[in-house]
């Protein structure tokens, strides 16, 4: 089951390299570690910052349920999700996932599964603030929802 070590929802920045140090080590059946880090993107230089709102009572549980499913389905030796909320600047890290599995296909697939589900099923909402003073909630994309279908079984 996912415990506090597997899921962290926090405002603070994190250091992916520190998180990965020793990740998957000392566990049987771990031959592959995959990690993904998402950062705040600014396509045309107009973004001042992004703010992520979340649903405190639900977030930890929803993410833990996604992690538990990934651990079971790909028999992960270890799994980590860190997701931030609050204000972030372009280039800042938003979130990371890491998976440790027996083989690389499982580690890659589990990481993609986590990303697909975190995007559409974890209660986070992104709002962009431009340097010109405009604000806009980021819309969910149709293909975000479609991405979940490939995991159906």
């Amino acid at each position: 089951m996912a415990d506090q070590n597997h899921v962290r929802v926090q405002a603070e920045e994190f250091d992916p390299s520190a998180e990965l140090r020793g990740f998957g080590r000392g566990r049987k059946n771990v031959g592959a570690v995959v990690s993904f880090t998402g950062i705040v993107r600014d396509d045309d230089g107009s973004l001042d910052r992004m703010e992520i709102e979340h649903y405190p009572g639900m977030t930890q549980k929803a993410v833990a349920a996604i992690v538990d499913e990934a651990i079971t389905r790909w028999e992960l030796g270890q799994c980590l999700v860190i997701h931030r909320y609050g204000p972030m600047r372009p280039g800042d890290q938003i979130m990371m996932v890491a998976t440790a599995a027996k083989h690389r296909v499982a580690a890659f697939e589990a990481a993609e599964y986590l990303m697909d589900y975190l995007k559409s099923r974890a209660p986070f909402w992104k709002k962009e603030f431009t340097k010109a003073g405009k604000t806009a909630w980021v819309d969910a994309k149709v293909n975000d929802e479609d991405a979940l279908k490939r995991w159906a079984r």
Partner: protein, 82 residues
């Protein structure tokens, strides 16, 4: 009495993050109808249910779900995590 919570642009349109609602609605959709009838800001926020999601006691649910025994209802747009 249920706690009703709003997030993201739903919260902004309604103007508050949470409120206690006295209701005898039997489903989420019935509760939405009651809220819509209150004031234009609610009617505006709940104009298009296909643009909204609902969680009951912090679990994603559906608009036709029963409200019996539910203590916390949350309305929000499709999530944009990751």
């Amino acid at each position: 009495m249920v706690d009703v919570m709003y997030f993201a642009w739903v919260r902004e349109r309604i103007g508050e993050p949470r409120e206690q609602v006295e209701t005898s609605a039997s489903t989420v959709a019935d509760l939405v109808e009651e809220l819509r009838a209150r004031e234009p800001r609610y009617a505006e926020a709940f104009k298009d249910l296909s643009a909204l999601r609902v969680a009951l006691d912090q679990e994603l649910s559906d608009f036709d779900a029963p409200l019996k025994g539910v203590r916390e209802v949350a309305f929000f747009p499709p999530m944009t995590g990751g």
